[in-house]
Symmetry: C2
Subunit: 430 residues, 2 copies
């Protein structure tokens, strides 16, 4: 099978750090039109999936590509912030940079003036995501390995050197992080089978908010035919009975064994969330996602406590490790939906994954990258951190814009084999 | 005395809503050089006080001026975001707009695409601050009254109509907010004396981080000579003994009765904060400000619990009402330092002040506006919400750039009398 042979091929390409210097930074403001109803939720009725792209030019033909995800308007602001943040990288050798990337990460994240636009949130944090992701992409490409393999080949110390654990010390310090990775190393073989089977996907695209009931039923059948056993419905209708009806339609169509997730996209206040979720629990959903404002740790905690065993998932709008720490400390999230194109890139994604592992909470990423980068990261999380092998969100709507789109076969992500983080976008003339 | 006569004059100008329509939005990127060492803290060594300014042009000669505060780099991003956010205001009559401003506030704060750059944090939230502040400034100017009087003349219902209480419902709903204001209305006369005495100031500028010990001692003496009895020192030195020495110098110079605040500007992690603050408590400080990362509700709670009765203040980097709600629910702040040029403007400042009053926590604003707007808001908070009459931060470094700089006499802010929010900046040729 071609996938296996390419995988073997990749294994034979031993990492040979060369001297690849970053010579310049450029940005791209990429915005993509979506079909009717695609991507709609109870809050966002006219989404335009967009990437603020950081491009690291080098002394070789290799370029590092880093993505941050927005919904369109303001994507230019993120591009501008990338220009400001990435300047310290010019002139650096990628291997030397990544050997102690945690220091550079903190320098950029704590840029003394720009941090007043955050700190570590909003436009500057999204810009940081793009810059950091471009560094990891370049690193993997220069070593000619896919991102997941690059990360797996690092020692626990080398991996932790790419992270910034500041402000987490009372929960997870450097020694504890290394210890967690070292302990998991002993049992990696038990989990490496995922490199043969691939990682299971779940289908987010069956139940966008503006889809009709007929569309939802049809999409559910199609998803099942394509091997998906888990899928998601957007809720948060003005009339909760619409949510309940649509959720019930999916349950009836998919059957009792299907895993159904509900996503309110922050639509409710706390009392509303409690009232409506108690009704929705009748269809036995796997989680309720973003039931209220994403900053509201106490609100999520109150909802989680009141709804148990119906569980709460959140993370796509949590901007940094400190707030994730608070959610985890409070027991306010049962599923951690950190997204490497929304927090401070792959580095902070890994930091937050370590935190979540420490607290025993599964990481099920939100995929603003359409799964391109996260298909690598969930493999690493499972094999190297002993995170649960659960499933990864799948959204197909931008696959024609990637040079190497993620491949889902029989409901499973194929393991990517090309060098880098699978972030390259096709060139357009516009 | 001129101040009193102008005040009486202002009282005679009865609010006569005219028809002042907003015709256009423009922005100004204003950055100001500071003297050697001025504004330095343990994290920010080269501050450049800056305003992203929203200007609302109208059908009359009156303009609404709204400020958001940054430290320089990226101020242009906030200006660009103002352009995006403020568009729905064009064509509106200011009186009609403000009669139900809470709705427009929420529409702008929840702009479906731009909220993915937040929501309600970072660059877009700072832009919202500037836009909202310009609306209130324009409203007060068209009614020809200072902001504090504009607000005091509103009924509880009218005031609450300018607010967006969404996502606070389980703590403070509309009826409770109106009830809080209505109850305080009965005793307003008991607190209106502050309009004669003025509001007490405290001096933040005696102890910037890079000032020498001699400068600090000299500044302390000067502050006392100018009538200040409360002052602040920047801490967070690499060597905690430097902090302790400098704090002790101020205590010795100012005497036991002086009120001394310490400000770490987020420099410490939680274990560091605990260790160092235990030492610093020996000089009997009034509060420790921003002891750790501003997003860390749990961290602040742990520090507050361990240090009691030494109290924790924070707020200048808390971007919105939901996070303030969490801090207040947790008992993680003893002083609420909300800043109207850092959260979503005067509207959200008032919302957070109501929240703080509900939880019995004093509001002592951070003054990114150098006190220009907050000199109005603390009067309203005290008289209309029965907030404690404590003191307001005073920072003199930009006074030459305001057309009506706040006036401090014998340590007290004089009550401003000119129409508007005192936000007008002098025109420069650059």
């Amino acid at each position: 099978m071609s996938t296996t042979s390419v995988f073997s091929e990749a294994n034979r390409v031993t990492a040979q750090p060369g001297s690849t210097y970053i010579t310049a930074i450029s940005t791209q403001d990429r915005r993509f039109a979506l079909g009717e109803g695609v991507g709609t939720d109870s809050i966002h009725q006219t989404p335009q999936y967009s990437y603020a792209v950081c491009v690291l030019k080098t002394t070789t033909s290799v370029e590092g590509i880093g993505l941050a995800f927005t919904l369109g308007a303001g994507n230019d602001l993120v591009c501008r912030a990338i220009d400001y943040l990435a300047q310290p990288l010019v002139g650096l050798d990628i291997e030397e940079l990544m050997a102690d990337f945690g220091s550079m990460y903190r320098q950029m994240a704590d840029s003394p003036s720009l941090r007043w636009l955050g700190p570590q949130k909003g436009v500057v944090q999204l810009a940081l995501a793009a810059v950091v992701n471009a560094c990891f992409d370049l690193w993997a490409k220069t070593r000619q390995v896919p991102l997941w393999k690059l990360l797996l080949d690092l020692s626990p110390e080398q991996l932790v050197n790419t992270l910034d654990l500041s402000y987490l010390e009372e929960v997870l310090n450097r020694e504890q992080a290394i210890d967690l990775l070292t302990r998991a190393q002993a049992t990696r073989a038990d989990r490496s089978g995922v490199l043969q089977t691939g990682y299971r996907g779940y289908d987010t695209s069956i139940g966008w908010f503006n889809y009709t009931d007929d569309q939802i039923i049809d999409n559910t059948k199609k998803a099942m035919a394509r091997g998906f056993t888990a899928m998601k419905l957007k809720v948060g209708s003005d009339d909760p009975q619409r949510d309940l009806r649509r959720a019930s339609l999916i349950r009836e169509t998919a059957g009792e064994s299907a895993t159904i997730m509900l996503d309110a996209n922050q639509r409710w206040n706390v009392p509303q969330a409690l009232a409506i979720c108690h009704q929705l629990s009748s269809i036995n959903p796997f989680w309720i996602e973003e039931p209220t404002h994403p900053d509201d740790v106490q609100g999520h905690k109150a909802i989680a406590d009141a709804l148990a065993p119906f569980k709460v998932a959140t993370g796509e709008h949590i901007p940094n490790k400190v707030i994730f720490k608070n959610f985890l400390q409070m027991g306010a999230m049962a599923f951690c939906q950190v997204d490497a194109v929304r927090v401070g890139g792959i580095s902070e994604f890994l930091t937050i994954s370590l935190l979540a592992r420490h607290f025993g909470v599964p990481v099920v990423p939100h995929v603003g990258d359409m799964g391109q980068i996260h298909q690598h990261l969930v493999l690493f999380n499972h094999i190297a951190m002993d995170h649960e092998n659960l499933f990864l969100e799948h959204i197909p709507h931008l696959r024609q814009y990637f040079t190497q789109p993620a491949l889902i076969v029989d409901g499973y992500y194929r393991v990517p084999q090309e060098p880098g983080s699978s972030s390259d976008l096709i060139v357009t003339c516009s």
